[in-house]
Symmetry: C2
Subunit: 308 residues, 2 copies
Amino acid sequence: MEQRFVDWLRRHVPPVPPPAIGIGDDAAVLPWRAGGDIVLTTDTITDKVDFVLAETEPRLIGHKALGVNLSDLAAMAATPVAALASVVLPRAVSGGGDPCALAMEIYSGMLALAEQFQVALVGGDTNSWEGSLVISVTAIGRVTSRGPLTRSGALPGDRVLVTGRLGGSLLGRHLAVEPRVREAVLLAERYELHAGLDISDGLALDASRLAGASGCGIALELAAIPISAAAEQLARQTGKSPLEHALGDGEDFELLFTAPPDAAEQIVRDQPLSISVTDVGQCIGTPGLWQVGDSGALNPLAPTGYQH
Amino acid sequence: MEQRFVDWLRRHVPPVPPPAIGIGDDAAVLPWRAGGDIVLTTDTITDKVDFVLAETEPRLIGHKALGVNLSDLAAMAATPVAALASVVLPRAVSGGGDPCALAMEIYSGMLALAEQFQVALVGGDTNSWEGSLVISVTAIGRVTSRGPLTRSGALPGDRVLVTGRLGGSLLGRHLAVEPRVREAVLLAERYELHAGLDISDGLALDASRLAGASGCGIALELAAIPISAAAEQLARQTGKSPLEHALGDGEDFELLFTAPPDAAEQIVRDQPLSISVTDVGQCIGTPGLWQVGDSGALNPLAPTGYQH
């Protein structure tokens, strides 16, 4: 359904005049006269899809609701400024809880993260209904003087890099989102980057999306992919390999970006972040997602990941 | 629950430095350097609370989802610029429908209204789940050179005015929202207004909220309240009076605003809109909501309306 609907949207939503950016990237960009670009993103999380209320500390759910939106701003190399939250509470909280107490715990989680990133919570809407918990957050940010980092700027020859280590987010990371806001801004200000996004649906799927948006292909060097300890741990339970988890798990909320070879080499040498930056492959002229074999030959790689 | 939670939010959400406006008005206001103020609002509508999917044309639901947000911008006398929509679709559409077709119809309704008000749909997030339909929209606007029209600027002596006719929205108006965007901007640009909001929860309740935010009281002249044909019609079914419907029904999405007596008189004389503007009472120094009796004496008036 998703792709059919996305295609329909492309045909029916009037395009915005450049330099504005509409639907299709991690966030929208609106020029605001002499004030500079506004970056806007919205993301909704729902019970039993993005979290399980009955098994989760509500503060963590609030943290995730804001965190995934800050991660979308990071994907554009934007600094968060403000956020608005809509919370739809279940009237009957399982275990006989009080919807009002639940709302306060959710907001506590959001507010703690907001404080950490100096985001002002400026608006909201709180309602209750017979259904399950839904939290929708909109976040607003500013780009660096380099402008927004889009999905569509990658060029054949670019190196492909990722922050941190990937896979196994189900063991906790998917809730305890660490949006790479400071990391993205630092990289975008200090180095020449061409394209970027946050890995929300899996390295393989998101890499194929970035390649598609840029009109190129991406060849990943599988042996170079940084695998998280959680991916190793999860692999012992699932029978999948740690690499499969790193490629397809999603909700890593790490950055995937491309840079020309010189800049990429510099970044890897400098290691300017408190987390690792790893070169995992190259943009190529042939569309699609590929893996680089031992001999250097390219073989197709499945864009595994979370399909909404 | 609502008031307890609102009080909690007031204590826990850090206030934004003026001239920014945070939680508590119809929309938030963020100064954006030399670009001028950004006005931001978010509102979520849910199945069986704000509409009944099984009985409603999905286009109308999309229309309402965007319309209530544009009405919140109108309440601040802001011109809409852009919007983002998050739609959470039921996996099983009643009657065996297709979630993707449902999404397209909802968006068709939003896009038609967006075109009418020259709002760019710049972002979104569409997901499905086991629950019922939820649509969350965030709208972004610009204020006039007069600045935002807040709830808190009313002064004792101001006249209280409303646009259009009130009550009976349940008969259709609550879905076919007509956001008073052009009306609000015209009034704010041409006349001195002190405070305003959109009537979403009922004239009486919203008037008492405006009074509370402004630290004054409001005395309504009940005989002056413009009653809609729908309120008359609904009253024949409910046993309530048309006036009770006009006071307490909510979802009129008309404007309630205050102006100093000279400006108010001018507006009523000019009738500058394609809909009526009616003087319905006065701001007074004594807090609370009042009705003006035949002899001019004030009696308390219940703030009837929709409590979330």
